[in-house]
């Protein structure tokens, strides 16, 4: 099954940790959609994206069901990772191989039997848009920083895996340019679900799913009402990014008051 034939993914309600049925309307994800999942630790955020990753059929602890194009997905796309339309990147996901970046990506390209000669270098170039520290093709995977690794995995999911839906579980901790990631995902017409505690990522998403006690409590669609705060948070974030870079560069930050 070609991954580009997937037009929507639907999540049907299950139940919370006490077995009470969830009260939400089916959540439909289409290409380009950005959703963030928020809620306290232990509220069921990771279980929610795990349900999507395994295409739950009322057979996980949450009782949810996930449909592809309105139907039960064929087994092949669930079981074969090279046909799976979903890439999951968590804070635990690592590249373990002791290879160069170029060899690692070439290995993935080969496993996928893709014949685009420049794909490896396009992927590195895209990853470099997500991270401040440039990734070199000849650098060993094991020597990359957390941020570089995460940037490379996101770029790999977009270009080589070509997954229409990308699940990112708390990747903001890794120091990648979150705004740029969201922008590129939209450009490539990908759907993305963030599990996040990050205000900027939450505010930049089209929809926000709020979890409580293992169930979906509500789904917020800000539709522009948060625009003012979003812009302010984006400015604060940009300021913090600049501070971070200056601290890394060894500067003393001696401004009086809050710079804009």
């Amino acid at each position: 099954m070609n991954s580009c034939t997937i037009t929507e993914i639907t999540i049907l309600p299950g139940h919370d940790k006490s077995g009470n049925p969830e009260q939400f309307e089916p959540i439909v994800l289409r290409p380009g959609d950005t959703i963030s999942i928020v809620g306290p630790t232990g509220s069921g955020k990771t279980a929610f994206i795990n349900d999507i990753e395994v295409f739950a059929q009322n057979d996980t602890s949450t009782g949810r069901t996930v449909l592809v194009n309105g139907k039960t997905p064929p087994e092949e796309i669930i079981r074969d990772p090279s046909k799976k339309p979903i890439a999951l990147i968590t804070q635990n996901t690592k590249c373990l191989a002791d290879m160069t970046v170029e060899a690692f990506l070439a290995m993935h390209v080969k496993a996928r039997r893709i014949a685009t000669p420049d794909l490896v270098f396009e992927t590195i170039a895209l990853a470099n848009q997500f991270t401040g520290e440039q990734i070199q093709a000849g650098c060993r995977i094991s020597a990359l920083s957390g941020g570089q690794t995460r940037a490379l995995m996101v770029a790999d999911a977009i270009l080589i895996s070509n997954a229409p839906l990308i699940l990112l579980d708390e990747v903001e901790n890794a120091g990648i340019f979150r705004e740029k990631v969201i922008e590129v995902l939209k450009e490539h017409y990908k759907s993305v679900i963030f599990v996040t505690h990050d205000p900027l990522v939450s505010l930049m998403s089209d929809r926000r799913i709020v979890m409580r006690h293992g169930g979906v409590e509500k789904i917020l669609q800000p539709e522009g009402r948060e625009l003012h705060i979003r812009e302010m948070v984006a400015r604060m974030d940009a300021t913090l990014c600049r501070f971070r870079e200056r601290i890394r560069a060894g500067e003393l930050l001696t401004e009086q008051g809050f710079p804009v």
Binding site: N50, V54, R79, C95, R112, M153
Partner: protein, 235 residues
């Protein structure tokens, strides 16, 4: 009674998979468990305490644990039958990657860890080749690329094997393993249960206690660094 034989290298997650099987069938099926290990094992105590199921272990000591498994299997099946089990799970020690403890009239499950390196399936030929299902654990910890390559290498060893990818601690994706267990036939006639493959050659001079190094000091089945294929049958 259904028989499940679980093998796989140490720390691959065999017991985590066993726990998920017990959790899935707990309440509808009576399950018994046997762990075969070399010097120490705790799985039987843990599972008995956690689920209250009949569980026991046997230590192989100086004997190869898979040889021990083969020796005790008929007794073990009789024990599980006397406990009126519907499902009997035998978990091997998983030390020697040449081992392949699967028998006929059972479901052979090899548990592999995705973090063990992409070439690891190629290094454990018979342990994978003669199994029915390969459960690949810890797939949440490795990159998409490595997951895909791991699967290809497993297929290279066993083109027909049923591959199930999972985070065994959470139990994600295990529905296909459970489906194979549902579909598994009961033991027809335990007296006719045999090993699926031929185990590694059992006795060499090292096995019987000679401790000198170098092929010159041994006889029977010997191996030189150069000029030998898989085996060299010496004088």
């Amino acid at each position: 009674m259904k028989l499940i034989i679980i093998a796989g290298p140490p720390s691959a997650g065999k017991t985590a998979v066993t726990r998920q099987i017990i959790r899935t069938f707990y309440g509808t099926k009576k399950i018994t468990f046997l762990k075969i290990d070399v010097v120490r094992a705790f799985e039987d105590e843990e599972l008995r305490e956690e689920f209250g199921i009949p569980a026991r272990k046997i230590y192989s000591g100086d004997l190869c644990p898979d040889h021990t498994g083969i020796m005790v299997l008929q007794d073990a099946i009789s024990w599980a039958e006397s406990e009126r089990a519907d499902i009997f799970i035998v978990e091997s020690a998983g030390l020697c990657l040449r081992c392949s403890p699967y028998v006929t009239q059972s479901l052979g499950v090899v548990v592999l860890s995705a973090v063990s390196g992409m070439n690891s399936p190629l290094k454990m030929g018979p342990m994978i080749a003669l199994a029915d299902v390969a459960v690949v654990t810890k797939t949440d910890l490795v990159s998409q690329s490595e997951k895909e390559v791991f699967r290809e290498k497993t297929r290279e060893v066993a083109p027909q094997i049923d591959i199930v990818e999972t985070n065994a601690v959470q139990g994600t994706g295990l529905r296909y393993l459970m489906r194979s267990i549902e579909a598994l036939a009961d033991i027809m006639d335990k007296k006719t249960i045999t090993l699926r493959g031929i185990p590694p050659l059992g006795v060499c001079t090292i096995c019987v206690g000679k401790r000198e190094t170098g092929w010159q000091n041994h006889f029977g089945i010997i191996r030189k660094l150069d000029g030998a294929d898989d085996l060299y049958r010496g004088d």
